[in-house]
Symmetry: none
Subunit: 225 residues, 2 copies
């Protein structure tokens, strides 16, 4: 984790957090070693600012008014010039939350790291440098279950949420998402309707969804059909 990687020029950092005081604190900590080129407290404002300032690293809060951290990531990606993907900024999530859902959502959206706000100033600087150099950085407690979820596949995220499901549950999920009734799924998989119910319940619980319609939508933007 040496911080001297042959990079001469100051790192340019963009700050996204909905609390002005927190941004001021981060700026104070970073100011002497890296350059804070801009900041934003809301998602669309962040996208515009990042595209305009072209920073090396974006420090990104997970919970934001206007769409949250993942929305900023996808927004920047969409707005970034396609012929200039190499210069796209790296994203480092910086959040109070250590909830699995929060971590997974920003990592899946493309963040290269995730540290909690309990981090110290020096560590934060080091984390920013490592992310800028292409490394992935995680707070100690988070690293474990992120690796579990991705089972060793960092570059291609696979799907941690899908991996929570057993083989049978995924099978049932596919049929439900296609619109079959429980009875039809039971007939196709040679099961009783009750077993299908059990699997569907497990899937809904694990994915934190409330009914089969949300499940269909969930499966759709994941192209699981």
């Amino acid at each position: 984790m040496s911080e001297a990687n042959g990079r001469e020029t100051n790192l340019r950092v963009f700050l996204v957090d909905d609390h002005g005081l927190f941004r001021a604190g981060v700026r104070a900590e970073l100011g002497t070693t890296v350059e804070v080129v801009g900041e934003a407290g809301e998602a669309s404002e962040a996208v515009a600012g990042i595209v305009a300032t072209r920073p090396d690293v974006v420090l990104l809060d997970v919970h934001l008014p206007g769409g949250g951290g993942p929305a900023v990531l996808t927004g920047v990606r969409a707005a970034w010039p396609a012929d200039d993907a190499a210069s796209a900024p790296r994203f480092l999530a910086l959040s109070v939350s250590d909830a699995a859902d929060d971590v997974i959502s920003v990592i899946r959206a493309g963040a290269r790291g995730y540290v909690t706000k309990t981090i110290g100033g020096a560590e934060l600087v080091a984390a920013v440098r490592r992310v800028a150099d292409g490394d992935a950085v995680f707070s100690p407690r988070l690293a474990g279950f992120v690796l579990d979820a991705f089972s060793g596949a960092l570059p291609v995220p696979a799907d941690p949420e899908l991996d929570q499901l057993t083989a049978r549950e995924k099978e049932v999920l596919r049929h439900i998402a296609r619109g079959y009734t429980y009875k039809e799924v039971a007939a196709r998989l040679y099961l009783s309707v009750k077993t299908v119910e059990t699997h569907v319940s497990a899937v809904l619980r694990k994915l934190q969804l409330s009914n089969r319609h949300e499940l269909t939508a969930w499966a759709n933007d994941r192209r699981l059909l």
Copy 2:
């Protein structure tokens, strides 16, 4: 395809393409026979320019920053004075793409022709004249599947199945297809659940579907969301 249709004055042409060099090339080819009254490299700029210069024909690229060819079509149509529809320009799509989706989208938006950029200068002039005279012009390979897609209905493709539904039924359909429960739809449309049931029943009957899942699938491959 005679080019002398009694038109004495030069044709006035507007050029929309995001590549300046390509616009220069077209201008060079057309310049001696028709008058290029303006050009634009981006959608909103194009709409403003077209409305201001009132050309006879617009040469329109399909892929543009700011919304693409169809956006220009609809933008000009919206901005054009309603009492002067007769003088509205004809649109001729001019694109590198020969993909079905691209062709269909601009034709449905109202373009009167579609030629690929492999066309020669003389042919392009002829195509512009024919479009100005009200003809439809297509590159040979494209003409076939355009006719297939519209199966003879050039002016308004419409959707016969969707037209069976009343306005209220279509409204309910959209909500159901998004996954809302009857109760939620009722709340959003200020109706009783019973009324929602009635409309859903009517929709299912008219479209010959058997449940809301099939309805969701039906709405999806029709892009009604």
